[in-house]
């Protein structure tokens, strides 16, 4: 059952990352990887929220491990940062690291704290 839930969540999360990345990159003509930033931020917000709500294990598998796990990505974040550095746009590479981590951690903490307070 767990395998089915993770599969379902990931089969929605991964294509949604692709579509979001394309939609965002089409609208922002910038070397900054806004698409990956957007999906990682959204996934952190959602996972922080459902952790704060302390959902049951099946929901955590479907939404947390499956959907949020497949929606967010560390490999593309890392690859895009390395590419920015190889293109000698070191400022963008550094900005990508700092903004992704600050926004991702901030969103997780904010969502967790807010939902935890509301459901406690």
């Amino acid at each position: 059952m767990t395998v089915v839930l993770i599969t379902l969540g990931a089969m929605i999360g991964a294509p949604l990352r692709y579509l979001t990345d394309r939609a965002v990159q089409t609208r922002h003509d910038s070397v900054f990887p806004w698409g990956t930033f957007t999906v990682n931020l959204a996934g952190c917000l959602l996972l922080g929220g459902i952790s704060g709500a302390a959902l049951s294990t099946p929901w955590m598998m479907l939404v947390g491990t499956g959907f949020c796990g497949a929606l967010t990505t560390y490999s593309t974040f890392s690859y895009e940062t390395v590419r920015l550095a190889e293109q000698r746009t070191y400022l963008y590479a550094a900005l990508n690291i700092v903004t992704s981590l600050v926004a991702g951690l901030g969103a997780t903490l904010l969502a967790y704290t807010a939902v935890h307070a509301l459901t406690a």
């Binding site: 969540g9 990345d21 990159q25 070397v31 990682n40 952190c44 990505t73 390395v82 951690l105």
Partner: protein, 171 residues
């Protein structure tokens, strides 16, 4: 140094860094329109495989409460190494089938690695007793992930060049 990025035109033109597609090239832009369904299907399948592999690793190597999340750490660093190898292969050295990059890069590796669990693990470790673990996990993942990608990219280019010049490969 000059030849380092010449095989990848996108890099030279300073265009958006998008591992999936180059939206400035009309042929790439129409990729989704032409094979909309196929690309989304292979990404969904790859994403499921990647996520299940991540879950399997987490089951094999469970993190005790307050402990260092080794499974997620290993998942992210390994995925970052593999995307470096894959992207050099499919964008610089091979002309791979159009579905290879979406399946392996966007699907499998994107579904395997996770940014949300990484952030949520750090959040859970931000307690007085485990704050050091939180900071070590935070910094070590970032350092090892970026290093893994960089090493993979350089190594793959080097290995390709070395095999293309068998007589001088050891030089």
């Amino acid at each position: 140094m000059t030849g380092e990025l010449t095989t990848s035109g996108r890099a030279e033109r300073g265009e958006p860094v998008d591992s999936d597609i180059d939206l400035h090239e009309p042929a790439h832009r129409t990729e989704l329109a032409r094979s909309h369904g196929a690309i989304l299907v292979v990404i969904a399948l790859g994403g499921a495989l990647g996520a299940l592999a991540r879950y399997g690793l987490a089951r094999l190597w469970p993190t005790p409460p307050g402990g260092f999340p080794w499974a997620t750490f290993l998942t992210n660093v390994l995925g970052c190494f593999l995307i470096g190898v894959l992207m050099v292969l499919v964008t610089e050295l091979w002309s791979a089938h159009p579905l290879v990059r979406p399946f392996l890069g966007v699907g499998v590796l994107g579904g395997f690695t996770t940014f949300s669990t990484y952030a949520n693990d750090i959040r859970a470790l931000l307690t007085p007793g485990t704050i050091v673990t939180a900071f070590v996990y935070f910094g070590l993942t970032l350092l090892c992930a970026l290093s893994a990608t960089l090493i993979a990219v350089r190594f793959t280019r080097w290995a390709h060049a070395a095999t293309r010049r068998p007589g001088r490969g050891r030089a």
